[in-house]
């Protein structure tokens, strides 16, 4: 009986979505706001990647809210997951292939992560994608050598510092008479690495914050034996 009700609900939902999206013409986006941003962004923000210009330039406060949600989620998860028991068994160390592979991959992944973060205003990519790659890079050594302790205090410092840099950049714009998180500095030449004002700095802060948060979260999840609070 309960399953029947659920199936009726799911069928109705499918019908509703089909009716709603039948009214839109595919590939005929009206682009009322989008067209304005496309015309305006290259001169005003100076980022070649217009998605980055939208994320950090036109709605920076939204991105601040996003990293706040991520911070709240990872802090709550860390609280709920509990600390590692001091007498917990260590996982056996990884084999030769795993250790050599990690030693080879770790520097490469660091370089790729920072490349993606720092070129976020020129090419596809940015703080979120690069931050995830950095988190994965710092999780790899934990797989190969489970006996190395995780420096949660250091991760918290990186995370808090990056968040503070993001907010201070926004406040600096306020001090100069602009709006909160308005891009500062000169736009520079479109398409060069040092261009688009403070956007690369903001994305670097986002990348370090996301990377530190997610690396800490994965390290906590990897502990099997914990003291539950």
């Amino acid at each position: 009986m309960r399953n029947l009700a659920a199936l009726v609900f799911v069928g109705g939902l499918a019908f509703l979505l089909l009716v709603i999206f039948n009214q839109f013409d595919f590939a005929q986006a009206p682009m009322v706001v989008g067209q304005g941003i496309l015309m305006d962004a290259p001169d005003r923000v100076g980022a070649a990647n217009i998605v980055t210009a939208v994320v950090l330039g036109y709605r920076g406060i939204d991105t601040l809210g996003e990293i706040s949600i991520l911070f709240a989620a990872s802090a709550a998860a860390g609280l709920v997951l509990g600390r590692r028991r001091t007498d917990a068994r260590r996982d056996p160390p990884g084999g030769f292939i795993l250790r050599s592979g990690v030693a080879l991959l770790f520097p490469l992944m660091l370089v790729v992560g920072f490349y993606i973060i720092l070129h976020g205003h020129l090419t596809p990519g940015g703080g979120f994608q690069g931050g995830v790659i950095l988190a994965a890079a710092f999780f790899l050594p934990l797989l190969a050598r489970p006996e190395t302790p995780v420096n949660h205090a250091g991760l918290s410092i990186v995370e808090g510092g990056a968040g503070a840099v993001f907010i201070l950049t926004g406040l600096a714009a306020l001090l100069q008479g602009g709006e909160f998180l308005q891009p500062l500095l000169d736009n520079g030449v479109l398409g060069e690495l040092v261009s688009a004002g403070t956007l690369p700095l903001l994305y670097l802060a986002v990348g370090l914050k996301v990377g530190a948060e997610l690396a800490g979260l994965m390290a906590r999840l990897a502990d099997v034996e914990v003291d539950e609070p």
Partner: protein, 82 residues
């Protein structure tokens, strides 16, 4: 174009149904990861390279790792017959 898109969509839907029906939990996580990976290919075809990159890194990579680690902690992470 139409055949590539249709193939990807069909594979995606099959993987999504597999997630709900397969008994082994690790296999379900792998199928969910496959959905994300195929979705990122679709995003790349739809001229959204930023979103494609995020979906590949977050959805197919990080999210599966988090799910697999949680399974290990639940004690359900055996590959053979969960």
């Amino acid at each position: 174009m139409i055949w590539v898109v249709a193939l990807i969509v069909i594979m995606m839907l099959v993987a999504a149904v597999t997630v709900l029906l397969v008994r082994n939990h690790i296999a379900a996580v792998a199928a969910a990861s496959l959905v994300s990976l195929l979705l990122s290919v679709l995003f790349a075809l739809l001229r959204a390279p930023d979103v494609a990159m995020t979906e590949a890194a977050v959805g197919a990579g990080l999210s599966s790792v988090i799910l697999a680690l949680a399974l290990r902690r639940l004690g359900l992470g055996r590959v053979k017959d969960a």
